[in-house]
Amino acid sequence: MNGYGLAEQYSGISNQRRGTKVMDSALIPNGVRRCSLDKFLVALAVVGAVLLWGVYAMLLCWFKGLNQTNMNDNYGFALWIWADLAVIALGGGAFFTGFLKYIIAKDELKNIINYAVLIGFICYSSALLILAIDIGQPLRGWFIFWHANVHSMLTEVAFCLSCYFMVLTIEYIPLILENRQIDRVPFFHHLSHNMHSTMAVFAATGAFLSFFHQGSLGGVAGVLFGRPFAYREGLFIWPWTFFLFTWSAAAYGPCFTLMVTRITEAISGKKLVKDNVVELLAKISGWMMTTYIIAKIIDTFYWANVTAPSKGFNLIDFYSNNGFYGIWILVLEIVLGGIVPAAILITDKGRKSPIARNTAFVLAVIGVSVNRWVMVLQVMAVPIMTFDTWALYFPSWQEVATTILPVAYGIMLIMISYRYLPIFPQEAELNPAD
């Protein structure tokens, strides 16, 4: 396949550039430039320290229990579940880009698919790790599979999430195998090649799984008929949030891929992906977002005027008499985090302007994160019984640390992968050796 071919195409170019001999050069892809090992290790150590802080908090949660958090009986779901839902939405770039490349055959996307897969891999492994911390009995976490209740949206999430993580691993493995040293082993060389050739099947399976787990994550909130803020009617067993979540992940996920790409470019000081690739993905994302936000507005409108009133609630009841959840949050999510980035990305002018484009990516990431926040935390905060009160919550440092942990882990994995694996097929071309 092409990714493989490209790597080979540039394999002749030496990375050992005059005056910049790198100690671990044998591991670094051919034809690209990397910083010194010392610098790399120092940076790795800095991020690693943050990671260790997170690991310490994680161990506290495991050994001492969830009393280390500020969650409580009103806030059974809190920061972690939000982080979970958010990273999965953001990691949606992997399945959707894969879907576009392998199923719709948007071939240009081969230049960003590796990174999309890597980001997806990080997001999904993080999500699984967070779930393992979040549950009260991690050692029995596997009961979700073993004693599965097929009617639970969370079961669907767990199964599809795990399966899709397998897919992402399968998609990530060939990338690892392309490391210069590993590639020298004939079996791995062939395995990489063979996996590339089978990738469309895996990607299709991934897209199928993603559709369900993204959706079922939306279903998690949408089926809660005891929680009028979350509850939505729907199609068959699936509430509308099921479809909205899948759709929004497909729409917003690529924006996150593009945003991280831009950040990577800024940090490495190199252009890594050509503008036409970025613009193509941004355009698709923009149109997806446009359609999504229309659907979201219709959903909100129907919910505010039909669903909630039937349970005795006016829309404004969900946004008043508390210190945090004002109507502003709905505006932030739909207008600033939805309509605005969508409008930027569907216009030629907006897409072509790096500033507008990057702003749109950031707004989109905020928009989808706010949506997931609202669907987890505001659901818990809104009083339902008339004699309930708003429950507000502030995470403990352990929760914050364990939420930052995957971020640190992600950065480290990106650093290592970027250094040793040919993630960006266009890198060498865009940054010629001399």
Binding site: Q137, L139, R140, W142, F143, V185
Partner: protein, 745 residues
């Protein structure tokens, strides 16, 4: 074999694959999950033969029958005893928590002798023999030196065999200084003495009353026998009887009542007399009773020729609705309406005793309320109030009086009251501190915790400091035990034999049998046995007054022929008692009910509480079923039910009307300093519409400094802030509050 990279890799992959395919990881995963299901630090209760043992709960004076579920020798649950006349199967939250007291960490395990400074909590474990001989030595010295009267005893109650044995011990030893924890029952007893001419406790036929006029009684807050009151309340609801609650705070009783009338606290007697005014003015009173069976209604000439105003004249002259309205803050029309309703009811009944009735209160008020019942004829009739004669122990021989005993018994009581009075424990601290009279050398404390429950705890502590030797017979390391020199731990109620006498307000004489449900778990001794051992140790006349082998023998003798019934049913009820009539039961000089006893007549002499006008607010204590505020401190379960608007972490809240809070620039949750003439404390603000403006209310039962971490140092003890106020008539404590002010912390 040369290990190259490839074979190393293959080996690694092989090992990994092999392990994964072997049953090992799967078995391990499974074992781990099974381990989490049986964590060794999560207890697994032992199974066994289950049985129920009936007894009586004595955690409060309520006297409810209980049924203790046992599994082998463990107690696993306390339930209400079905068929017990007092509680009819019901049980309160404190009673349900009893096993936490039995097995709790606050129990005293063995006799202790203080080694450090008083109150420091440094103890040496001693044997029972050592404890007994140490005390008898001390007592013997006092007795032979003619100082037997300098020994005092404080009991939780003056009823029941153990209390009477305790009193007997002091008498035989030669001390008149027996004290008990007083309550509204004492005031009622005085009212009955003056007006009915009998020495008896009041029995209220609540179940047959159809209009209950409650002057601040916490009918659902623990007044009388709590569970009986709940049952009565349910009966009222079902029978559509009406309850009117006169109280400055929307208590649970007020909330469940048919009408809540907020009153300026302390003016209850005025209201009662205002109601009486309307009854008399509108001729709504029971003419038959008043004309034929009562005295002092009309003005009369006393034996020495004085003209004494009758009740009628006093009330008509001084208690018009308008006058009363000014004092009570209640609209005149509301007073008139109330009086008419009260008179028109079939079986109206007026009650008094604020909250749980922990403070004896104003005798004027009790008599005014009692007069109200008399006016409508609700005395000695169905649905009314009638005297329940106190049950004296029958079977014990008179205490022999040797010279030392009679010399001691002829000394005045330390509180200055006559030798056979009820005793004014509220005057004890000041009597000790004033230095007038004689000093106290030894104090015994049984089933009571004066350092916590008595008003103005600081002064009480100062008084304790003047007593060189304090002996506690408590089961728990409470505030007083912690301040004692020797602790001789009593069995806990579930481990001991005793009787629970008629609870306050109950309409029949009843005794319930508390039997040892469990073998004593710790090195404790029945207080009755301790007293017998002490008496025997003292020898002579004291020992002769205690001829029994042990408390059991003493108890059986005391119960006499009731013992058989007690053993069979668990309780004995005076079922032969006939309802007293109006004809023959008033034991006054005139043989009639006395509206205006010669000694004095009921009137409204407000109890002046402490504090000048710089204290703009009124602080009142209040009681709730979720906070035990007597000798027993809250067990963990009970504390768990306390609302977070009463206690949050270690802060307790004052209730304050939002308007008052606003004018003081306070909002919900603010930390403030609550200051009274007696002390100050850090509290938090809880806004509550259900309290009269310009008042603050604080719950009783918090602020323990002893016991265990489940109750100690939570909130503040309202007794730190309130001092006793002596009732001018009865001499007992009548403080219903204190003036207070708030400042931001």
């Amino acid at each position: 074999m040369k290990i190259d990279r490839r074979s190393f890799l293959s080996l690694g992959v092989g090992v990994a694959a092999g392990t994964a395919l072997s049953p090992l990881p799967w078995k391990l995963t499974d074992d781990l999950s099974i381990w989490t299901q049986n964590w060794p630090w999560t207890p697994v209760p032992e199974i066994g033969e289950s049985s129920f043992v009936n007894s009586v709960c004595t955690l409060c004076p309520g006297g409810c029958g209980i049924s203790v579920r046992k599994v082998e020798d463990r107690g696993v649950k306390i339930e209400g005893m079905k068929g017990h006349p007092v509680n009819q199967g019901g049980i309160c939250a404190l009673g349900l928590s009893g096993l936490q007291l039995l097995y709790g960490p606050t129990r005293i395990k063995t006799p202790l002798k203080r080694v450090g400074k008083r109150g420091d909590g440094q103890w040496a474990k001693i044997s029972w023999d050592e404890a007994i001989s140490e005390i008898t030595e001390k007592l013997d010295g006092l007795r032979t030196s003619g100082n037997s009267h300098t020994v005092a005893g404080i009991a939780g109650s003056r009823h029941g065999t153990v209390s009477q044995l305790f009193s007997r011990f002091l008498t035989a030893f030669g001390s008149p200084n027996f004290f008990h924890t007083p309550s509204i029952a004492d005031t009622y007893q005085l009212a009955l003495q003056h007006m009915n001419g009998v020495s008896a406790a009041p029995g209220f036929d609540l179940e047959n009353a159809d209009f209950i006029l409650s002057f601040g009684c916490g009918l659902l807050e623990g007044w009388g026998s709590p569970v009986r009151m709940f049952k009565a309340n349910t009966g009222w609801k079902k029978a559509k009887a009406r309850v009117i609650q006169i109280e400055s705070r929307l208590s649970r009783t007020a909330a469940k009542s048919d009408r809540w009338i907020a009153i300026i606290p302390g003016s209850e007697a005025a209201l009662a007399l205002g109601v009486a005014h309307v009854l008399i003015k509108e001729m709504l009173y029971n003419k038959d009773f008043v004309d034929n069976y009562a005295n002092g209604f009309e003005s009369f000439v006393t034996d020495n020729g004085e003209i004494k105003k009758g009740f009628k004249q006093t009330v008509l002259e001084e208690y018009s609705p308008e006058t009363v309205s000014r004092v009570t803050g209640i609209d005149p029309s509301a007073i008139i309406l109330l009086a008419r309703e009260f008179a028109n009811a079939k079986a109206p009944l007026a009650l008094c005793g604020k909250g749980q009735g922990k403070v004896p209160g104003s005798l004027n008020e009790a008599m005014s309320v009692h007069a109200l019942n008399a006016l409508v004829g609700s005395i000695n009739r169905k649905g009314g109030v009638f005297p329940i004669p106190a049950m004296e122990v029958q079977g014990w021989a008179e205490v022999g009086m040797d010279t030392i005993t009679s010399a001691g018994m002829n000394q005045p009581r330390i509180d200055g009251t006559p030798p056979n009075s009820l005793g004014y424990i509220n005057q004890l601290p000041s009597a000790i501190l004033s230095g007038k009279g004689y000093p106290l050398n030894v104090l015994f404390v049984l089933e009571s915790n004066p350092l916590y429950t008595m008003a103005d705890s600081k002064t009480v502590k100062d008084a304790f400091d003047k007593i060189p030797f304090v002996v506690s017979l408590s089961s728990f390391m409470d505030e007083t035990a912690q301040y004692a020199d020797i602790v001789m731990p009593n069995h806990i109620y579930l481990e001991r034999l005793e009787d629970a006498p008629t609870p306050m307000g109950y309409n029949k004489s009843i005794i319930s049998l508390s039997k040892p449900v469990f073998k004593p778990r710790l090195n404790t001794k029945h207080a009755g046995d301790t007293l017998i051992l002490l008496a025997k140790g003292l020898g002579g006349g004291v020992a002769e007054a205690f001829p029994w082998k042990n408390f059991e023998a003493c108890f059986e003798q005391a119960m006499g022929d009731k013992m058989k019934t007690l053993k069979k049913n668990g309780f004995w009820v005076d079922s032969d008692a006939v309802l007293p009539d109006w004809e023959s039961t008033f034991n006054t000089p005139s043989g009639k009910f006395q509206f205006a006893p010669v000694e004095f007549s009921p009137g409204f002499a407000p109890i002046k509480i402490e504090g000048d006008s710089t204290f703009q607010l009124l602080l009142i204590p209040y009681e709730t079923m979720r906070l035990s505020c007597g000798y027993i401190a809250n067990p963990p379960f009970l504390t768990k039910t306390v609302e977070d608007t009463i206690l949050k972490q270690n802060d307790c809240f004052i209730e304050i009307n939002p308007k008052t809070a606003q004018s003081n620039q306070l909002s919900e949750g603010d930390v403030v300093v609550l200051q009274t003439p007696r002390g100050q404390a850090r509290v938090r603000v809880h806004l509550e519409e259900g309290i009269m403006p310009d008042m603050v209310a604080l719950p009783r039962g918090l602020g323990h400094t002893a016991h265990d971490g489940y109750i100690a140092n939570k909130g503040i003890n309202v007794n730190h802030l309130i001092g006793p106020v002596q009732d001018p008539v009865s001499g007992m404590d009548a403080a219903w509050g204190i003036r207070a002010k708030l400042s931001k912390a």
